[in-house]
């Protein structure tokens, strides 16, 4: 077995190239996969990556999917920089959707401009509170946030299930687990007839700009980064380690919560059990693929959205199973982590013992 030894000076260009290498390897292995399934790889890639973008509606769908991914990933990246690993954004998204959706259900029939903004604020608070729970557990009991955030994601799923099966079930919904369809005041109006893209992507765009300024310019983000790179230096400087935990988890909860409202007040239009196709988890990949950088995350979010669309197209056009989307996401993350290892480390053959 060769040894894995740290490189004296990891190359900065390679760190930026690493996502591209990961994408390349994903495509390579993807073509092997298509071939083994008896599909022409070129045709498959056309279906996967070109066809979805060959219509206006395709671009609209790309935006619809990229919006929440980017929004959530921007929040997550703040925590990841500080080595606070919130992997339960899916739960915070659901709690945000529940809070925002709850407002819509309660205010059904109220026709006022402030209903939608109120939903967004409620969703932000709902997601932030759900992020605050693991922050409290971590700062108070030193409970590992990777576990608590994930477990709370399941709690959120069951809470949603309870609400749409119980108190908020649509009385005229034939007993389906879903709420009433929201009225127009509680929905983001589509921009174009027959397309689903709406103003919620402006929230993701604004958030990206804000996070770019925040991460590159603010003292708070600097403190979070120091806490992640050198915890002893943060303590020495007097930066609060607990503050880092709170800020990271509340911020990422907040963006996930808003993304949840964007779903229920957008493409979904109600509360039901399918409000997110795993955006909260996919956003983890987006954050790392984008190098935890606000601009990188925008690009990575678009790519991940394309994978969702391509996966759907491949199901229809090539009769491939739905798991294909998850498979591509998984390969992308796997190759990205693998490439990153070789940015920081190199293989060295194990020295052979020589006897004199």
């Amino acid at each position: 077995m060769p040894l894995l030894e740290p490189r004296p000076a990891p190359s900065a260009p390679m760190r930026l190239l690493s996502p591209l290498i990961a994408i390349g390897l994903t495509l390579l292995v993807g073509s092997l996969l298509f071939m083994s399934l008896g599909k022409d790889p070129l045709e498959a890639f056309r279906v996967f990556f070109i066809q979805p973008l060959s219509s206006g509606n395709g671009w609209s769908e790309l935006m619809v999917k990229a919006g929440p991914l980017i929004l959530i990933a921007q929040g997550l990246a703040i925590g990841f920089r500080a080595r606070i690993y919130n992997i339960g954004a899916e739960g915070q998204l659901i709690m945000g959707a529940l809070a925002g959706g709850g407002v819509a259900v309660a205010l059904d029939g109220v026709d006022a401009w402030w209903v939608l903004p109120l939903m967004v604020v409620a969703g932000a608070i709902g997601g932030a509170l759900w992020g605050a729970v693991p922050a409290l557990l971590k700062t108070r009991f030193n409970a590992e946030e990777t576990l608590t955030t994930l477990m709370l994601a399941y709690v959120a799923t069951f809470t949603l299930s309870y609400m749409v099966n119980g108190p908020w079930r649509d009385p005229e919904g034939m007993n389906f687990p879903q709420s009433i369809m929201f009225g127009d005041p509680a929905l983001f109006a589509p921009w174009f007839e027959g397309m689903r893209v709406n103003a919620s992507i402006l929230i993701a765009a604004a958030a990206s700009a804000a996070f770019w300024v925040f991460t590159s310019r603010s003292f708070l983000a600097y403190q979070l980064t120091v806490g992640g790179l050198a915890p002893a230096a943060a303590r020495y400087a007097g930066f609060s380690a607990k503050g880092t935990v709170w800020v990271s988890l509340i911020l990422s909860g907040l963006t996930a919560g808003i993304a949840g409202v964007g779903e229920v007040a957008g493409p979904v239009g109600q509360l039901n059990l399918n409000i997110s196709p795993g955006y909260g988890f996919a956003a983890i990949i987006v954050a790392y693929l984008g190098r935890l950088n606000a601009i990188g995350i925008v690009l990575a979010g678009l790519l991940m959205a394309l994978l969702y669309l391509g996966g759907e197209a491949a199901q229809v056009a090539l009769q491939l199973p739905a798991a294909i989307t998850g498979l591509f996401q998984g390969m992308l993350l796997f190759f990205l982590l693998g490439s990153d290892v070789f940015v920081d480390y190199r293989l060295r053959p194990r020295p052979k013992p020589v006897f004199a």
Partner: protein, 523 residues
């Protein structure tokens, strides 16, 4: 200290125990060893003298088989050998005692020794051998003791005995006295002389000139990876050895008198503290006063509460408000950032990862603690101000680096230390706490740092220095206290004490355990 070693009496024309010829080792960025020749005769204590980065450690690793030379020959007892790994070196009869110990704290002495053996062992028989060897060489050890309960000096004995069990013909010791009291140093020297008289060759790595003069028969001096000369230390003066080692005269500090009023600035009162770390040292009722314009030194061996005391002073761990005060204001409950705002700055022992963030630039590292100096405005960073601050610091404190954009980890230890000290001074503190100011720093930078601290104190700043280097404390401090087993002695003017007395205080509290242990070992 002044005992001169007897002239070496080995056969002058005999076959050397070890002879290195033209040893060269290149690393990507540096030539660590450049055509090094070294000759050690049987029974000779031979010093390898040089500053940090002179290539001593690399050379020893090559002899011990941990690193392979790119070029050159190794002759062992007149026969050319290739030493591929440490276990082969041990088989030849080469033993090495490292500067940093590799012992398991939760195992006993004999278990630790057994782990390092290359052959199968029987614990009982091994324990008997350990006892026998340790008594024969005056290194009392109880094989059944758990390592965590041993003092640092005792741990070093474990390492030495571990080597001696393999009956080495060449023993390499890397800076062995940096963790010992002056008395323990004398004991170690007796052991080494005894080994040498039995024909064991010893390679003694150090930068302490007086030790080498009192112990070693011969010396090879290195600078910048090359041998700059060989000498018989007893015939040289510290100044002549230093010239060979650093290439110029040994710098001397100037110590002007402080003319201002001596007002207490940093006060510690009745401080007791139990650390979270189970192997940490509890602080017991510590009281101390540092006045304006003076440097107070805390002597003692690391592990006697130094880390804990420094953390409670800096604010990295907090306690009751009244235990630490600054200019009369209680600050014991404040975190490090708040204490810095009150005028207390701190230079920690670990420069990378604590005093500075390794991958960040010097400009970004300026913001780490100096953010209140206009480097942050309304919650936003001011990169230009940070750059200017770092630039001033680099110029004022002679930091040799690639500029404010250089990553902290790209600097040598001495230059990074100058940057950190400079950064803390530029915050205009009224009191400053400095841990191991010149640890791992070359002679030139060390002299600069010492002079900087003296000059700063004479402007009216109260300075507390915690250091393992006794000579350093005697050079720069006005008063010296000793920290041993979590207790602090009274700080006395340095004219009223000496190395002997300080050494007694360092070990005085260990005496009981030493006595019982000697009784154990004799039983």
């Amino acid at each position: 200290m002044s005992t001169v070693p007897p002239p070496f009496s080995g056969p002058p024309g005999g076959v050397p125990r070890l002879e290195l010829t033209g040893i060269t080792k290149r690393y990507p960025s540096v030539v660590a060893n450049d055509g090094v020749n070294l000759r050690v005769r049987p029974g000779e204590i031979h010093a390898v003298l040089g500053e940090n980065g002179a290539g001593k450690s690399t050379l020893m690793k090559i002899i011990y088989g941990a690193v392979q030379a790119d070029a050159g020959q190794i002759q062992w007892n007149g026969r050319e050998v290739v030493i591929a790994n440490p276990s082969e070196a041990r088989r030849l009869g080469i033993g090495m005692v490292f500067q940093h110990f590799s012992l398991f704290e939760t195992l006993t002495v004999v278990e630790n020794i057994a782990l390092a053996l290359d052959e199968p062992f029987d614990l009982k028989a091994l324990a008997a051998r350990v006892k026998e060897v340790s008594t024969r060489y005056g290194l009392p050890l109880d094989p059944g003791r758990l390592v965590y309960s041993l003092s640092v000096g005792e741990r070093q004995r474990v390492e030495i005995v571990r080597c001696l069990l393999q009956e080495p013909r060449l023993l390499i010791l890397d800076e062995p006295t940096s963790v010992l009291t002056p008395q323990a140093v004398q004991k170690l020297f007796e052991t080494l002389r005894r080994l040498a008289s039995e024909g064991v060759s010893i390679l003694y790595i150090s930068h302490k000139l007086h030790e080498i003069q009192s112990l070693c028969h011969g010396a090879t001096v290195m600078r910048g990876g090359k041998v700059t000369g060989t000498a018989t230390p007893a015939r040289e003066t510290p100044a002549s050895l230093a010239r060979m080692m650093i290439g110029r005269e040994l710098p001397v500090c100037e110590i002007p008198a402080y003319t201002g009023e001596a007002v207490p600035v940093l006060t510690v009162k009745g401080l007791s503290h139990t650390p979270d770390d189970p192997f940490g040292t509890s602080l017991k009722d510590i009281s101390l006063e540092v006045h304006r314009g003076e440097i107070v030194g805390i002597a003692g061996i690391s592990g006697n509460g130094q880390a804990e005391l420094l953390a409670t002073l800096s604010g990295e761990s907090t306690g009751p408000a009244g235990t630490v005060s600054l200019a009369g204001q209680p600050i014991g409950h404040l975190d490090a950032g708040k204490r810095r705002k009150c005028g207390l700055t701190f230079v920690p022992e670990e420069r990378l990862g604590r005093g500075a963030v390794p991958p960040m630039s010097l400009a970004d590292n300026a913001t780490l603690t100096a953010h209140a100096q206009g480097l942050v405005k309304k919650g936003f960073l001011r990169p230009k101000a940070a750059w200017a601050f770092a630039k001033t610091c680099i110029e004022r404190f002679d930091v040799r680096c690639g500029g404010p954009g250089a990553a902290a980890r790209s600097l040598s230890g001495g230059n990074l230390q100058k940057f950190i000290v400079g950064r803390e001074i530029m915050q205009n503190p009224i009191a400053m706490v400095v841990a191991q100011p010149t640890w791992g720093v070359d002679v030139g930078a060390a002299a600069f740092l010492r002079q900087t601290l003296i000059d700063l104190s004479r402007t009216g700043v109260a300075i507390l220095v915690v250091s393992e280097e006794l000579e350093e404390l005697f050079e720069i401090c006005d008063r010296i206290a000793v920290l041993a087993e979590g207790r602090l002695s009274e700080a006395v003017p340095k004219a009223d004490t000496n190395a002997e007395k300080i050494g007694m205080q360092m070990s005085g509290l260990f005496r009981n355990t030493d006595a019982t242990e000697a009784a154990h070992a004799a039983a």
